[in-house]
């Protein structure tokens, strides 16, 4: 009798164990399309019993996930996010420098062509007007492109500000999820925590680690702790009055740490790099170009005379320094008002002399820009360098995508749900449950018979 009761108990335990397996498999199937879900598995353990009765019990459900792999995926995600955002931002800057009208190098080329015509007809009013008009176009083109760079910088700052707010929100959610994981240890919460960490990595390029206490800690490059267990710091944008740019600080209570220079990956890293490297370089190059154009043309223009015989006048307003020369660039007011001021003749020479026009043409075609380049070449280099960077960023996207995809395949291999596999598991557990139900019924029948005979 006691053995039959043990068998009933064995059957009950076995049904419970198989039901655990059924529920795990069902949960896996239910989450087959849940992004970031890690499949679970339950191991059944045989129970060792006294001579004849053993049984089975289900272990704790195991979440199939590799923290090392998850870390590599986060790192790869940060790099992919960086290259994608960097490429997009570079395309935007490239578009600002090349679209909506002629480029600066095209305008300088047109000015050079007009200068050539001026050597043939230096006294012709129409030719002089077209030269001045081309110079005006160069001037307005450079100022417009400089303004476009300012807009690109403002937009980068706005993106940085917006993403910093997202990071702060995600940091709070991560700290809260840490707390919930600590309380329940549920696999779905751990998946949620991984997803938040992934988003943080995509934004900042930082890394997450799970320490011995089970807490996830999120650290930015350079060591600033963004999330430490249940505590979250904020990533706060601070306006730098000197540059007008947003700097980034990690603020934890009263502690503040500037991390602007440390965030070099993730989409924020991309925005910072575009803002602090690409746009700054383009602006510096544009300022240098504007300074070189004004200085070189002014030197030639001052040395020659206009139709009124007067020499010593500038063609452009002479900038006092390189910084800001592009935005301040302007045609000399005297020349702007009177085309006769255009210095096409040698000083003291007759008005029809074209020595001045030839000198201006020499500036247009000579290596007068910084670095021994022509002015046109220097202007072309500005857009080319942005194009080269964008092209390289596109290659980086390809490389990072391949790497990320490969890691995603590895993760799926370990943590992904396979419906066929889960359906097989369901069938196995279902069959075992049915068999054990019949077994329990049989033992129950035997017990009934026994009780009736007593």
């Amino acid at each position: 009798m006691s053995n039959l009761l043990s068998l009933l108990s064995l059957g009950s335990n076995a049904i419970q164990a198989q039901n655990t397996g059924l529920s795990i498999a069902t949960n896996n199937v239910a989450n087959v399309n849940t992004r970031g879900y890690s499949r679970q598995r339950v191991d059944l353990h045989a129970l060792m019993g006294a001579p004849l009765v053993g049984g089975v019990t289900a272990g704790s459900p195991e979440r199939l996930q590799d923290n090392l792999l998850a870390g590599r995926i986060r790192t790869a995600g940060g790099s992919l996010s960086m290259s994608t955002a960097f490429h997009q931002a570079l395309l935007d800057v490239e578009s600002r420098m090349t679209s909506s009208g002629p480029t600066i190098h095209e305008q300088l080329g047109k000015l050079a062509a007009r200068m050539t015509e001026l050597t043939a007809t230096p006294t012709d009013t129409i030719t002089r007007d077209t030269v001045i008009s081309a110079a005006r176009d160069v001037n307005s083109g450079i100022r417009r492109r400089a303004a476009e760079l300012d807009t690109a910088q403002e937009e980068a700052n706005a993106r940085i500000q917006e993403k910093a707010a997202q990071v702060s929100t995600l940091a709070i959610r991560l700290s809260q999820t840490n707390l919930q994981v600590q309380k329940s240890g549920d696999g779905a919460l751990r998946d949620e925590r991984d997803r938040i960490a992934n988003q943080l990595s995509e934004l900042t390029g930082g890394t997450a680690r799970i320490d011995g206490d089970g807490h996830m800690r999120f650290v930015l490059d350079g060591g600033a702790m963004l999330v430490d267990g249940n505590n979250a710091a904020a990533l706060r944008p601070i306006l730098d009055p000197a540059t007008g740019d947003q700097r980034l600080e990690v603020v934890a209570g009263t502690l503040r740490r500037d991390v602007t220079a440390n965030i070099t990956r993730g989409s924020i890293g991309a925005d910072l790099q575009v803002r602090d490297s690409v746009i700054v370089k383009a602006r510096d190059d544009l300022d240098q170009l504007a300074f070189d154009i004004s200085s070189a043309y002014n030197t030639a223009h001052r040395a020659n005379a206009g139709l009124d015989g007067v020499s010593g006048r500038n063609m452009f307003t002479q900038p006092t320094q390189v910084a800001g020369a592009a935005k301040a660039m302007a045609l000399d007011p005297a020349l702007d008002a009177d085309p006769n001021v255009l210095a096409t003749a040698a000083p003291g020479g007759a008005v029809g002399d074209n020595a001045g026009a030839k000198a201006l043409l020499t500036v247009a075609s000579g290596n007068v820009a910084t670095g021994g380049k022509t002015l046109v070449g220097a202007a072309l280099d500005i857009v080319s360098s942005i194009g080269i960077a964008a092209s390289e960023a596109k290659s980086d996207i390809y490389r990072d995508t391949l790497f990320h995809e490969n890691l995603a395949g590895l993760r799926d291999s370990l943590s992904g749900v396979d419906i066929q596999e889960e359906l097989s598991n369901l069938a196995r557990f279902e069959h075992a449950t049915s068999a054990m139900t019949r077994f329990v019924a049989t033992v129950d029948g035997l017990l009934g018979e026994l009780i009736n005979r007593l």
């Binding site: 087959v32 399309n33 570079l90 395309l91 490239e94 578009s95 090349t98 679209s99 190098h105 095209e106 080329g109 047109k110 050079a112 062509a113 007009r114 200068m115 050539t116 015509e117 050597t119 043939a120 007809t121 006294t123 012709d124 009013t125 129409i126 030719t127 139709l307 003749a345 020479g349 007759a350 008005v351 029809g352 002399d353 074209n354 030839k358 043409l361 075609s365 046109v376 072309l380 857009v383 080319s384 942005i386 194009g387 080269i388 964008a390 092209s391 596109k394 995809e405 995603a408 395949g409 799926d412 291999s413 370990l414 992904g416 749900v417 396979d418 419906i419 066929q420 596999e421 359906l423």
Partner: protein
């Protein structure tokens, strides 16, 4: 390696998306005819094309300058031809005037003709371009080079026109070529002298101008030869510029435009790859449904 059904679908979807992107890109190339529209498409091709475009613009500017100079030389040549005709006519009249069969009254009548012809020659010498510039004034080109007495008030400067970044050609001659500056005769004042000799019935002085008139005819002919030489150089320059422009256009086209046959072939390949990818996807989905 364990590969899940979802992973297989992801891979198939990724391949289809990438195939669609390739088809879209190839179709865009075929329809637009452009392979490179911005620097990042192909930086080296963009730079090569832009350099060629800039060079072509300069050549176009230079061609316009040369054409303008060529047109002006045509005007100068016509003016010199007119002056040459006038001198020849005046020389014929001078030869008549020297003849003993003519009397003072006859010479006075001839003098009137010479005077009128001299005015014509001065007008031709003061030939102006459409912008009003005096073409035979040297660089003093905003003032008439020949006074009412035929005195030359211009200078001997000539103007070079740039044909490239490093070279230029002479594109004008000055009215000084019609003066005694280089061992010649003062052509228009000589006409005035013929007029005076005829008007004053001074046959000796008139006879004395005959040789100079012959020299003047040669001198004008020489000036026209110079003009012709410059015109020939300018014509050759225009021709060379045309060839250079064509070559630069080819360079630009090779750098940024699509080879239509290659582009069509790429589109066909991309379409085929997309079709295969779609077939694989549909088979895969059917397989997973069956499972």
């Amino acid at each position: 390696m364990r590969v899940t059904g979802n992973r297989m679908i992801d891979l198939a979807t990724g391949a289809t998306a990438s195939g669609q992107a390739r088809v879209a890109s190839s179709a865009q190339e075929v329809t637009s005819g452009m392979r490179v529209t911005r620097p990042s498409d192909d930086p080296s091709a963009y730079i090569a094309a832009e350099r060629a475009k800039l060079h072509r613009n300069l050549v176009d500017g230079s061609t316009r300058a040369v054409q303008t100079s060529r047109d002006r030389l045509d005007q100068v040549d016509a003016a010199l031809a007119g002056i040459g005709d006038v001198i020849s006519q005046i020389r014929s009249l001078a030869i008549q005037g020297v003849s003993a069969t003519y009397n003072a009254s006859d010479r006075a009548q001839i003098a009137e003709q010479v005077h009128s012809l001299t005015r014509t020659a001065i007008g031709a010498g003061n030939v102006r371009a459409v912008d009003g510039e005096y073409l035979l004034a040297g660089s003093a080109s905003l003032s008439a080079p020949f006074s009412s007495t035929g005195a030359y008030t211009g200078n001997a400067d000539t103007r070079d026109v740039s044909t490239s970044a490093t070279s230029s050609v002479r594109a004008t001659i000055s009215g000084a070529d019609l003066t005694a500056a280089n061992g010649g005769v003062d052509v228009i004042p000589l006409m005035e002298r013929v007029f005076s000799a005829l008007a004053t019935n001074d046959t000796a002085a008139l006879a004395g101008t005959l040789d100079e008139l012959a020299k003047a005819v040669e001198q004008v002919g020489l000036a026209r030869t110079r003009v012709g030489g410059s015109m020939a150089v300018l014509d050759a320059t225009v021709l060379a510029h045309g060839e250079l422009t064509e070559s630069l256009t080819t360079t630009i086209s090779n750098a940024v435009e699509v080879d239509s046959i290659a582009a069509a072939s790429n589109l066909a390949k991309a379409s085929q790859a997309l079709e295969v990818s779609r077939t694989v996807s549909s088979h895969l989905i059917a397989l997973l449904k069956l499972a």
